[in-house]
Amino acid sequence: MTVQEPAESSRRTFLRRTVVGAGLTAVAGAGVGTVAASAAGPDPDTVPFHGPHQAAIVRRSPAQCVVASFDVTAANKAELTDLFRQITDRARFLTRGGAPPALGITAPPADSGVLGPVVPPGGLGVVLGVGSSLFDDRFGLAAKKPKKLKPMTMFPNDSLDDAQCHGDLSLTLSAESTDTVLHALRDITRATRGGMQLRWKINGFSSPPRPSGTPRNLMGFKDGIANPVESEYDRLVWLGKGNGADDGEPAWTEGGSYQVVRLIRMLVEFWDRVSLTEQENIFGRRRDTGAPLDGANEQDVPHYADDPIGTVIPLTSHIRKANPRKPETDSSRILRRSANYDRGVDSNGNVDMGLIFTCYQQDLERQFEAVQKRLVDEPLVDYISPFGGGYFLALPGVTGSDDHYGRAMLT
């Protein structure tokens, strides 16, 4: 246990405006001022569907989400193309909203009616990703595989369940209310039954600020304070720009982003039996304010250089391991879009809840995996259990009404 020392206020003022991260994988710029970015605004009714990138990637997580993985059952490339067209058409309609067609006596109702007779957009955002398994021999896409895409790595502290890992596609639906995301999931799966089948899915939520600032995870800590700002996306988030001509990625990936989803159970009963001091030393932040242990506010930057042996912020703390804030670790920063989940009871009578960790980046190994490797055997691992998720490439955006998801990949 590290002894806490009062921080000197004078040494935290000069970087007051810098935002730093807490949470399961905190990453922020080393000495680079960052502000949580939200290109689409925090609470939009409509997330633009057409654009060079999938717009929902860059907005702050709205209140509700569902993260789903699918295996493609289409028989060939033509059917796969048809599948992507269908997903595109449904996503385009659902994000814009509107009246479902009246089918008269020719069919059951076109829409489930869950959102009423006219479908409101409800701030629905859609992110579609492709997993490395899509590039096997089924569709002749091996040569099109994104260079860095691979099955999710199993890390030393993982206990992965294959039934809740990987998948040919990932679909992340987020909106302000649960009915909106579930309606969207049902609509999209109904239109694509022959082409893809659900492999796993999990519902998530983002808590409101308690009492202010960054939302808290289910361990009670503010999670996701720091993220790259929009001006940094080209070198940290998007493929095809700002990372030199030799990244080796196929041209079709331009505008996409590698997506990591990690389903992480939190052993909250155990966690709640841990003293506050130990909890705070494990994260490196105060639980009440979210401030680093040498600071006063959640947006204060920790000063590791002044604390070389970790008497204030332990060397093993989550934020310090995740982001040592050195120049050489700056390029490992990631765009985090996590949510909480809560889904039932385990065989011991403990609740099954935790985090749907999601992040976006340009390079899986340079970014997420580098962070994750620094976190191996951190003290937090006793209280969490990663069991699922996958690596995907979030596709480039659908550029217009003639475009569809994956078009450049398939042609």
Partner: protein
């Protein structure tokens, strides 16, 4: 493949742009799907269809107001072809309900079908300046279904004869103390039954007795109400004494005999024929492809395959009714073929079927995808083939 029926029809009918354009209006004006701005159409014997003063193309909603003295059905039809574009059933006297339709160029009229009296077709209104009409279909009448029903009943009767024979062989094998022979005969008889497409109470109490599961039985497999094929399956594959199973087999034989005797006296509800097309497969999805109804034999896939035969029978008899009305019927046929092939692909070389739970995930996903897509394609048949009044 994923080209869903509804999407295709919308595009073919109204054009995406039209639909979306209307949506914006709908948001502003009709948050609940209908509003005071929508035309109010009178529904009654004396004033059927009056109130439509401003015909226009595109998606729109009518408020149907029953001003008559009795409950009425209402159709929006093309008075020349008889094709129905919108339908509201059970419009009570004094009540108002919305009817949402997409109108294109051509003549339209409201048809009022008051309870216990003849239909009245209101004035013809012609829409100009639009594009194609929303999806519509010529109604299927009770008369249209007489032929299919007769053929269907004959086929079921034939199947029940076969079932009686197969259950007789099963009973003999059980009484003969031949477990392997009993198991073989059980499967033959059970598949004969499943081919009849007895989904969702098609045979009422008989189905419960012949093919019921332990669902709803507090005693589970030991419950005295657990009878029929699955009770016998449980005993055969759990090494129960064959002598004690003789009574179970006899009871099954009696229940089958009763069904066979009763069936010609009963009538298949004309409503059921169209419903059965997808309900048989719904059953297969819910009870067979989950493995939920496996009491030891591991033959859910064989059952699912037999269910497809049952669906094929329904499609065959309904084909004359569906062919002119269901543009996607050929895709139903191709998904039938594909689904059959997908199931057959996991069958063992010796003709036996692996338990569904032993399949790989990829195999199960392929089967689930095919059966699910097929079910989606079959679902409109229930709407189309529902018998309707026209006069």
């Amino acid at each position: 493949m994923p080209g869903s029926v509804r999407t295709r029809w919308v595009v073919g009918a109204a054009g995406v742009a039209v639909v979306v354009g209307a949506v914006v209006t709908a948001f502003a004006v009709w948050p609940d799907g209908a509003s005071a701005q929508d035309p109010e159409i009178q529904i009654s014997r004396s004033a059927c269809g009056q109130g439509w003063t401003d015909p226009k193309p595109g998606p729109q909603t009518f408020r149907l107001h029953n001003t008559g003295a009795v409950t009425s059905e209402v159709d929006l039809i093309d008075p020349v072809s008889g094709v129905i574009y919108g339908e509201v059933e059970g419009l009570g006297t004094g009540t108002t309900r919305p009817m949402s339709v997409t109108l294109g160029n051509g003549p339209y009229a409201f048809r009022c079908l008051p309870e216990d009296s003849a239909a009245i077709v209101g004035p013809t209104t012609t829409v100009h300046g639009g594009t194609d009409r929303g999806p519509g279909v010529a109604p299927v009448t009770q008369n249209d279904l007489l032929g299919p029903l007769k053929v269907y009943e004959a086929k079921v009767t034939q199947g029940l004869d076969q079932l009686a024979t197969d259950v007789g062989a099963l009973t003999d094998a059980v009484h003969g103390g031949d477990r392997a022979g009993s198991e073989k005969a059980w499967l033959t008889a059970h598949l004969t039954y499943e081919r009849l497409g007895a989904a969702y109470d098609a045979f009422g109490d008989s189905d419960r007795a012949i093919n019921g599961t332990t669902a709803g039985l507090p005693g589970g497999t030991a419950d005295s109400g657990f009878t029929g094929f699955h009770r016998l399956e449980y005993g055969l594959w759990h090494n129960e004494d064959l002598r004690s199973l003789g009574g179970v087999a006899d009871r099954l034989a009696t229940d089958v005999r009763n069904l066979r005797t009763a069936f010609p006296q009963s009538q298949v509800d004309p409503n059921d024929l169209g419903l059965r097309a997808h309900e048989i497969v719904e059953n297969a999805l819910q009870f067979e492809l989950t493995g939920n109804t496996d009491y030891g034999s591991g033959t859910n896939l064989a059952t699912a395959r037999a269910n497809l035969d049952g669906v094929q029978t329904v499609l065959d008899v309904l084909r004359p009714v569906l062919a002119p009305r269901y543009p996607a019927l050929s895709q139903v046929d191709s998904w039938m073929t594909r689904t059959e092939a997908t199931l057959d692909a996991v069958r063992r070389p010796d003709g036996s079927w692996p338990p569904v739970t032993t399949l790989s995930r990829a195999q199960r996903e392929k089967i689930n995808a095919a059966v699910s897509e097929l079910t989606e394609r079959l679902a409109p048949i229930a709407a189309i083939a529902e018998p309707r009044r026209v006069s």
